[in-house]
Symmetry: C2
Subunit: 245 residues, 2 copies
DNA sequence: CGGATGCTTGATGTATCTCAAGACGTGTGG
DNA sequence: CCACACGTCTTGAGATACATCAAGCATCCG
């Protein structure tokens, strides 16, 4: 089911073509990234831990992962979701130590790219660097929007906003259609991402079902009324910087 | 008082030399950025509004500014503080529309740089690009840490963490000594940055004074026990990525 | 003098957390 | 094949941290 788009690097094509048109040559160059064996991890495994010196760039092919930070006493905050097509840690180029961890939320498959492989593609087709930086800046924009959510939005607004965001991003990589998508993470994960307790997430979801905004069952999320959901979330898609709708 | 370091671009030197050593030639090249008239704004004025197409890079010389996002109903979240030496919106290069606003928290002075001026400096001394990207990545890391703060830290922990962070950053640009620094923003600003109500910020500050962590009066913040403050905040400076302590 | 602006305090309500338990499904080893 | 552990979702009861509303005071400034 989750393997409808299993072709390794296809989600990346779709993602980048949201920012700029990709020629056949661009695609060919990007396909070079697909070298090397594909890696896999179980749900709840770490791909990288805070403090490590990152040496590879990871390109997520299937499954969901997250960036998270934790405190010495165990509190944990998910600060970003990685969906298929996303890069983890382009920052390898500049920073020498990870200030966060990366964990799998579901079983994941990904490529590990060495910086020089990466460099090779960029040298060949410099304008692709622009698309990749674009992706990074969008990631930054998402972080800011999350800060707004956690700081100011109510729990219903917050979850509504997240669902619209995830729907937009998944649609961009061909993993959502008809207001419906695989939603493989737990309520516990939602709580960690939104600064809420597990119990409160559960009750908030119930309220959203009562409001007939969503259906959520069997790891499938269906948005019943997208416009209403956007209105409630005060969703403005400008922060995703998709140039081509 | 706030003008101890008034020499235009000096804070930038200090900031970047936290990441890599700067030669005299580097400094000379950077000084080229100081062309053009210096701009000023009053406290509470906007330097840029969400939705605008940014055309300049701003280099803050004195005063404090912030990045913020707001919701249609007036709720507002400060997502970053800009201190002297900071750049606002290097993203001009890539993104065509601002997804956030930039506002002055105090009277500010800054330079407006056109992308081509900027480009000229980088062309001349390419390794400076690395320092500037570094600065951007640190900004990203700070955003993540704030997400952790707002999502997981209690109000006392949250303010403690922010104060240690500001102290570190101000010290890096020569604007703090002896656990003491100008603190020109209001409790209202603190509330907007930390997702708390104004009243609660006030009471939290009082608690921190009672705990003998800080003194805060007359726009001056004094940290009474830095180690204790760090412990309470669970502060780990890795996210600031200062290479040279 | 009157009007902003910022800080402080008290009273009250409620949104959200914590603790605790049960139901259900799934995988696992005896 | 059953017993059991484990993960996930759900519900209830109770406590409290935080927001909201309201007011007073100080300082500054035109």
């Amino acid at each position: 089911m989750t393997e409808l788009v299993s072709a390794g690097i296809e989600p990346l094509f779709r993602l980048l073509s949201r920012y700029m048109p990709l020629t056949a040559e661009d695609r060919a160059a990007l396909t070079m990234l697909e070298v090397g064996p594909i890696c896999t991890k179980e749900a709840r495994a770490d791909l990288a831990r805070e403090g490590e010196n990152p040496s590879v760039i990871r390109l997520l092919v299937s499954g969901w992962a997250c960036r998270y930070k934790d405190l010495p006493d165990g509190r944990r905050q998910i600060v970003a979701f990685f969906l298929p097509g996303d890069f983890c840690d382009l920052s390898v180029y500049i920073l020498s130590e990870l200030d966060h961890s990366i964990g799998a939320l579901t079983p994941v498959r990904y490529f590990e790219l060495l910086p020089h492989q990466f460099q090779q593609v960029i040298d060949e087709r410099p304008h692709l660097l622009r698309a990749l930086l674009w992706h990074e800046m969008v990631a930054s924009g998402i972080q800011r929007e999350w800060l707004l959510s956690i700081g100011q939005r109510t729990p219903v607004e917050r979850l509504s906003h997240l669902f619209v965001e995830l729907y937009s991003r998944l649609k961009a990589v061909g993993q959502a259609q008809d207001h419906c998508f695989d939603f493989p993470i737990t309520q516990h994960n939602l709580a960690e991402a939104n600064g809420l307790s597990l119990v409160h997430v559960n009750r908030t979801l119930q309220e959203m079902r009562r409001m007939e905004l969503i259906e959520l069952a069997d790891r499938q999320l269906r948005i019943l009324d997208l416009e209403k959901l956007k209105r409630i979330a005060m969703f403005n898609n400008n922060y995703l910087h998709f140039n081509r709708e």
